[in-house]
Symmetry: C2
DNA sequence: GTTTGACTTGGATTTAACTCAAAGTAATAT
DNA sequence: ATATTACTTTGAGTTAAATCCAAGTCAAAC
């Protein structure tokens, strides 16, 4: 797959894909003799994984570390696991914070709805 | 309350508090004759509200708009309500995305745990 | 066979949200 | 009274994460 196909498929610009690769967010993609990137299934898997993790707010720095460990082989499994656990916990905490804010927003909206409703009632009453 | 007290109370730097005020994220704080900010209860309420909303990822731009509407009075209630609904929906969507990623992380961790466990078993077996 | 379009690299620019620095004034502690 | 601390303003610098640009190469369509 060419970079533009991958870009299309995952909704990431070619610039971003090259940037991710250069930064070490995904392993080096193999090239044709001409030097053009040819994304394998595995490469696409990485792109998708990284897109997903970035979408949840994991930092590039952290993900680079994960990929680094991955490339060092089986010896690093425990470290990788621990890195994921730490990120999982951070994500969970963030979601809990957001859940509280969501509730707060819902409450505020309800208050506004009552306010607006009572205001409309007033207007109607005045019409009679 | 002085700026440093508010800073302490909410864990936002004095710089950030001044920045928020200047940017219109919170209404103008009243000053003493000397020109020093003197945060009222209401001001603190705003600071806390903004901190909470920023923590959930609402943009400064959006919050500035909300505060602007608020300062224009009752006439803007419906607009404020609609703004909050839009942000609530965005937040909800974000949380759903994050929930999926959380599940994915949990699954990956589980896979690592099995891998690591089976590796340890191997080592033990070899000892005998 | 030349024009078009996709690709390459490396470096510069952008954006959001702070964060810091410089230069100066005012209040407080000793 | 003087030294320290907290505050003021304006404007510059920082950070993360892209995103864009320039200059150039290559393959393919017409």
């Amino acid at each position: 797959m060419t970079i533009s196909e991958v870009s299309e498929k995952y909704g990431l610009s070619a610039d971003t894909l090259r940037y991710y690769e250069k930064a070490g967010l995904i392993p080096q993609v193999r090239r044709r003799e001409s030097g053009i990137r040819d994304y394998s299934e595995a490469d696409c898997g990485w792109v998708e994984f990284i897109k997903c993790m970035r979408g949840a707010g994991l930092s590039i720095e952290t993900l680079v570390e994960y990929v680094n460990l991955y490339q060092k082989g089986k010896r690093t499994e425990r470290k990788r696991r621990n890195l994921l656990v730490a990120e999982r916990d951070r994500l969970k905490a963030k979601m809990e914070e957001m859940a509280k804010t969501l509730e707060r927003l819902n409450y505020k909206i309800k208050v506004y709805d009552t306010k607006i409703l009572s205001c409309e009632k007033d207007l109607l009453a005045r019409k009679e």
